[in-house]
């Protein structure tokens, strides 16, 4: 089942500059696993040392926050979009 995983601008530098990848996971966690196994540096930005998704990074399945679904065990289906949405603070450079 093909799922599109969107990579946000600040993290693209750690993911070979790609804006998205396609994968065929069973769950959101597996999709993130596919991405971070290809890009070790990205893993550090998405997960804490003990393997939890960092709290300034939110993950959405379509338009729903996975924290309010089944977290990383949330099932995916064909045509779903997973978005990684980190906090950004920019307004103007100081």
């Amino acid at each position: 089942m093909a799922v599109k995983l969107m990579i946000p601008t600040p993290l693209r530098q750690f993911a070979g500059k790609q804006a998205s990848i396609e994968c065929k996971p069973g769950t959101v966690g597996e999709a993130l696993g596919t991405l971070t196994s290809s890009y070790a540096e990205l893993r550090k930005h998405l997960y804490t040392d003990d393997g939890k998704i960092r709290s300034f990074v939110n993950v959405y399945l379509n338009d729903e926050d996975i924290r309010f679904l089944d977290k990383e065990n949330t099932r995916t289906k064909d045509g779903d979009t997973i978005s990684i949405v980190p906090s950004i603070a920019g307004g103007s450079r100081k």
Partner: protein, 392 residues
């Protein structure tokens, strides 16, 4: 409706003949009309930051006739601002932003009251500053102030019109609306320093804050009018490169430390500490990363010392100016580390010294020992060694 303009005095409030002419394109719309225009005139909006987001925001709110605008900023206009902060003119460089913005907005609409607060927003002054205003618009550029604005808005029960940008990407929403989520519901904790690049490192396309700031202006005006559907419980994502808007659901977190059922944050805290950046201003030898000044590097190169220069910026930055070092962008370092010779003494640099510190930390774990971080990066080189080198 959260904002106080509902409490319009019942006695006859009228627009002058000049106001009717000025706002005629509002007045002929049933969604605004005379009543809406009077709400705008009664409204008090506090803008945090008068930079990239604040520029379109201030201009549109002033033009729309928002009767009382507060501007909070401690910064001074510099040349690098002019690419996107369109309230400012070249002649404003060197002047306080609040002063320059006030002059520009007053020229646009002399009938409104504009209050300039040339100060850094802090836990000590935030509640007092916010108290007199109906709603707050957050256009700052850093995490501590984002959390400070959020918490102060929640404590005072004021809506917070949020906008944020990075390179080609923007986010906007309304926090602190009755029943709606707050910033901490979305992001309970800030990223550790250094993990997410700032605009100063990452850059931003000048038009982007124009678009996101204009969305904030629109939401502000809608909240004042009580018109339409406010951007509450929805996070609007804007991707300028793909020219796409997307919307994600935002939910109120019942366990939120500020706006949840049992709040644990009941007063403003130390937000620098919360964001883990206490003492970042005086790095010296931070975390065992040895530093070298631009002057020392120059002197040693002139002496003929064998110093290998590693530049960890991006190729487009290298084009602007460089020290003729080997270019390996920070993000590529892990897989290109074999290109480096650990037996040679190495000076690592970036623009200002932050990315190179990260690079050194990585190189240390990879077994490199003879490492120096160029203190202040190419900016310091331009200041101390080569004034002809462009700064960016």
């Amino acid at each position: 409706m959260a904002i106080r303009t509902d409490a319009l005095p019942k006695q006859e409030v009228k627009l002058s003949k000049e106001e009717i002419l000025r706002y005629s394109r509002h007045l002929i719309m049933p969604e605004v009309a005379l009543e809406g225009q009077l709400k705008l005139r009664q409204a008090k909006v506090l803008m945090i930051g008068t930079g990239g987001l604040g520029a379109p925001l201030g201009l549109y709110l002033a033009a729309a006739g928002v009767g009382h605008l507060g501007l909070v900023d401690f910064d001074v206009v510099d040349f690098t601002n002019l690419q996107r902060q369109v309230t400012f003119s070249t002649s404003d460089v060197g002047h306080p932003k609040t002063e320059a913005a006030k002059a520009r907005l007053s020229a646009l609409n002399p009938a409104i009251k504009i209050e300039a607060f040339e100060t850094r927003l802090t836990s000590e002054n935030a509640l007092e500053l916010f108290r007199d205003f109906d709603l707050i618009v957050d256009g700052t550029d850093n995490f501590p102030t984002r959390y400070l604005v959020n918490d102060a808005c929640i404590l005072l029960g004021k809506p917070n019109v949020y906008g944020s940008i990075f390179r080609f990407e923007g986010q906007a929403t309304v926090f602190g609306y009755p029943g709606g989520p707050c910033y901490r519901c979305l992001y309970p904790e800030p990223p550790p320093p250094g993990l997410v690049p700032s605009c100063a490192e990452g850059g931003v396309l000048g038009v982007l804050p124009g678009i996101v700031g204009a969305i904030q202006a629109m939401e502000t005006i809608k909240l004042i009018l009580g018109a339409g559907e406010p951007l509450v419980g929805r996070l609007l994502l804007f991707d300028a490169l793909g020219m796409r808007f997307r919307e994600l659901k935002l939910r109120k977190n019942p366990a939120c430390p500020v706006c949840g059922e049992h709040p644990t944050v009941t007063k403003l805290i130390d937000y620098e500490e919360f964001c883990g950046i206490r003492g970042e201003e005086a790095p010296a030898v931070t975390n065992g990363i040895p530093e070298i000044t631009a002057r020392e590097v120059k002197a040693r190169l002139d002496r003929g010392d064998d110093l290998f220069i590693l530049d960890v910026r991006e190729p487009h930055e290298y084009q602007i100016c460089n020290l003729k070092g080997k270019l390996i962008p920070l993000g590529e370092l892990p897989r290109r580390v074999h290109e480096l010779d650990s037996s040679r003494e190495m000076v690592v640099h970036c623009r200002s010294g932050k990315r190179s510190a990260d690079a050194i930390q990585f190189l240390q774990t990879a077994g490199f020992k003879k490492l120096w971080n160029l203190k202040g990066g190419v900016l310091a080189w331009a200041d101390e060694v080569d004034p002809s080198m462009p700064k960016y």
